[in-house]
Amino acid sequence: MSSDRFPITRRGILGLMASAALPMPRALAAALEPPLLAPLVYEDMLPALSDRVPREPRVVKLAEMGRQPGRNGGTLRMLIGGSKDIRLMTICGYSRLVGYSPTLEFIPDILESFENVDNRVFTFRLRTGHRWSDGHMLTSEDFRYCWEDVILNKRLRKGGPPSELLVEGQKPRFEVLDQRTVRYTWHGPNPDFLPSLAAPQQLVICMPAHYLRNFHQKYQEPNRLAGLVKEQRVDEWVDLHIKMSNSYRQENPELPVLEPWRNRTRPPAEQFVFERNPFFHRVDENGAQLPYIDKVVLNVSSASIIAAKACTGESDLQATSVDFTDYTYMKDAEKRYPVRVGLWKATRGSKVALLPNQNVSDPVWRALLRDVRFRRALSLAIDRDEINKVSFFGLATPSADTILPDSPLYKPEYAAAYANHDPAAANALLDAIGLANRNDDGIRLLPDGRVAQVVVETAGESTLETDILELVGDHWRDIGISLFVRTSQREVFRSRTMGGQIMMTMWPGLENGVPTAEMNPGQLAPTLDDQLQWPAWGMYYLSRGQKGQAPDLPEAIEQIRLLRTWYQARSDAERTAIWEQMLSNWAEQVFSIGIVNQTRQPVLRSAHLRNVPDTALYGFNPTSLLGVYMPDTFWYSEDTA
């Protein structure tokens, strides 16, 4: 296609004049048009590339990253376990105001730049000419709308602003400095602000005001609003606004987004088609607009057969719903289908960990599980090398549930704490607690005469968990503790653990195994109700004392105290010191009994797909699954590799 084939129209001439100002010649610009958009541009239904991207786009220098610049086009197929999993596109698309680089440093992405003064004053500057996916300008009005009309709206946000936006319960001062600049000012430091903007499920502080005004009571005529409420089959305008504005799960195909791909399918559906966002703000070093891939097709399938389907060439990129146990099968598929399988390193603190519930209702067990000697004994009794050999081909690392060597905060003693196999020491600890009496089978008796039977509950979704529990059960029998496994549904875990009905859970270890000092150490303290080792304490913190129970274990209270000082810390050195103190307490207290970490996560890709790392870190937080490795830079080549 050459430039002389363009019809001369008013818009075309304007475009020509505009592009004359740019260094990029028009012919080159046309050649760079993605195949999906070229006909639209040709028919003048869409502005040319130079008008679509911001004046200063984010230039991704692929060669510098050790990758190859590619070419536009192609369709990427992926499999998801349910229609809710279309959030995968927002997680992996990873278009954020501020995001993590592959080395986990903050970089401006949608923003042109940001300024952070003492974690207190944040000034955000937008790119000139940055547009939403429907072509409207992204301006500071979108931030103002989100802040004043959504977050501060009593009806839209019944619980008030999200906790990441509050410092000691205080809201920030929000200012619009000009069309492209906004500022948030808190009275004290808010170190959570940037990490929550870079999170897989980002904190939303910017919404397409021009579109969402249609659903807001303040801006829409009551009659039309009532009509829309009826049309969308919701009860009132609040539900309508929430439904239409969900940007995490892009269920509304009309919602303007800033992501690389936007949904074109209205749920419910068995197949979701995402098309490229024509106004996406990233380009490669040659000026080609990202994402390279035109369309992403998500097929809904039963989660249990996703591995099998991916291995018959039904997916071009698959990392979710496949596990290490499927690797042999996936690797074998390389012979039959043009797919390649890489092994990434899981960032969880432990593949699975045993979480002794500090809030269990049985008083005898509660006393035992709160006794650090008991937890240490259980940990020391586990032969992690055998588990590693049997279930992980020796590829994992026996370790306590702690951070990985890839984190700058890592120290070997955290991983080694009570993770060696020492049944003699474990027996001595249990004898010292006062569990010296045993029954005829050699199982210890509790102080009240009952047999020491630990019931471990697991979601039982894979044989891996039950295998590990079977091995652990054998190891524990050597120290006179018998283990029973109960499988129950994932959904009921939280309430049952909080109610104290569950003694111990098998659950994945620490979510973020590769933290930096800038990230919140909340996972080491009772801060969330889904921390199954102390859900009632976590609920207490989360609800600011409204629900749950106040922690009454000094070691847990200490973790919360340290977390509070982390919020106040002024320097990275201070934050690092607090992280280290919390990690060392965590390791000494064995609140979570880790088994192995640094397990491998298979990532399957089409052999034609380029720029997918062969190995990298894989986890939800902070790497947003594939997100920080920029799936928008993946492209299709004709030859396989």
């Binding site: 291995c311 042999t328 099968y329 690797k331 049997v390 044989t463 029973f484």
Partner: protein
């Protein structure tokens, strides 16, 4: 007898009168064989009839042997149920050879080397044909507690000292599949028997009373049965299986599962008993017994039930496979028995992944005994039903 010449064509046939003496009061002599038949009991007649059904007979012998074997599984299995061989995970079945280098050495297996293929993450086993490991018989192997009473370590067959013998391969924890199938038989086969006894007691008592008494009791029972039969069985099993406390010992769980299977299975039998009794209670001998003052329980138990016992036996043999399948299905869904108890259903549950079919097909072998036992029970039931009415 004198033979007269044929009459002329067209002439009438001459009247023939036998000249032999005839005594109308004489009883014709019977052969010894006939004598035996006439004196044979009902049971004996059934046995004769049954013997002629060769397939049923073979099935009967096969099942008898299997049930006898569950008494001595510890001795029959080469390994214990939970013995793990961490160095022999997912080892394929080993072939038993007789000849090595052209000379007879008796049954033996070749030693095996395991190599980890770190590229495909598979364990690759190769036979070492220089390493002959003769099997030992009546040998000392894994120690076990026979019937929970005696410490013993005698096994029918063991590997050579320091060697391994996995006739049907090993699973993902390196446990011998053959040993686990043999141990699983103990649970899977008895669950049918215990379950069927529960359902028989319930079926005969409730069905018998309903059929004999009739009236309101019959009406209520019939409606209850209809309700029970209309509930989809799998969700009901799931609900009942879920209420069993996890800390119950595996034996209690096992008994609980058999009770559940029995409690749900009696309805069909109760119906059959009722309809049979409805017709039998009109017989004269029942009236006679009633006039002589017999109690209800005696009339049902002594006079009515034996009248269709043969039918009950046939029903029972056909229901047992249903019980075994029920246990397999429940365990397969993860709701029935739980490890460490091992049944065939549990073994199959552990084999339900795509990589098993692709790489470790020997883990599906527990289906084989399930199929064989169910076929055998069906043939046996068929033969018994034919034999139950020996005069036909």
């Amino acid at each position: 007898m004198t033979s007269s010449p044929l009459p002329e064509p067209g002439a009438p046939l001459a009247h023939f009168v036998s000249t032999a003496p005839f005594d109308p009061n004489e009883v014709p002599p019977i052969t010894d064989a006939q004598k035996e038949i006439s004196k044979a009991s009902q049971l004996r007649l059934m046995w004769w009839k049954f013997k002629r059904h060769k397939l049923a007979l073979a099935s009967g012998v096969f099942l008898a042997l299997l049930y006898a074997s569950i008494l001595i599984v510890e001795f029959l299995a080469p390994y214990n149920l939970h013995t793990r061989h961490v160095d022999f995970i997912h080892s394929p079945p080993q072939r038993v050879h007789l000849f090595h280098d052209g000379s007879f050495v008796g049954p033996f297996v070749y030693g095996r080397d395991m190599r980890l293929d770190m590229d495909t993450l598979r364990r690759i086993y190769t036979n070492r044909t220089d390493q002959v490991e003769p099997l030992r018989f009546f040998c000392r192997g894994d120690a076990y507690r026979f019937w929970g009473l005696l410490d013993a370590n005698l096994h029918l067959v063991c590997p050579a000292k320091g060697g391994q013998f996995f006739l049907l391969g090993t699973d993902r924890l390196g446990r011998d599949v053959l040993s686990r199938i043999i141990y699983g038989a103990r649970i899977s086969l008895t669950i049918g028997l215990i379950g069927i006894s529960v359902s028989f007691v319930l079926g005969i008592v409730i069905g018998g009373l309903a059929g004999y008494r009739g009236g309101l009791f019959d009406l209520v029972t019939q409606r209850i049965i209809e309700v029970l039969q209309s509930i989809p069985s799998i969700p009901l099993w799931m609900a009942l299986a879920a209420i069993m406390p996890v800390t119950w010992s595996p034996i209690l769980i096992y008994l609980g599962i058999t009770m559940i299977l029995g409690l749900l299975d009696w309805t069909g039998l109760a119906r059959a008993v009722r309809s049979k009794l409805l017709s039998l209670r009109e017989e004269d001998y029942v009236l006679a017994a009633q006039l002589m003052g017999a109690k209800t329980s005696r009339i049902i138990g002594r006079h009515l039930i034996p009248g269709f016992m043969s039918h009950l036996i046939a029903t029972a043999t056909i229901s047992i496979p249903g019980m075994i399948l029920g246990e397999t299905a429940l365990s397969f869904l993860g709701l029935g028995l739980r490890p460490p108890i091992t049944s065939w259903g549990i073994l199959l549950t552990e084999a339900r992944s795509v990589s098993v079919i692709a790489f470790y097909p020997w883990l599906l072998l527990p289906t084989l005994p399930v199929v064989l036992v169910i076929l055998a029970f069906n043939f046996l039931g068929d033969g018994l039903r034919d034999a139950a009415d020996p005069y036909k």
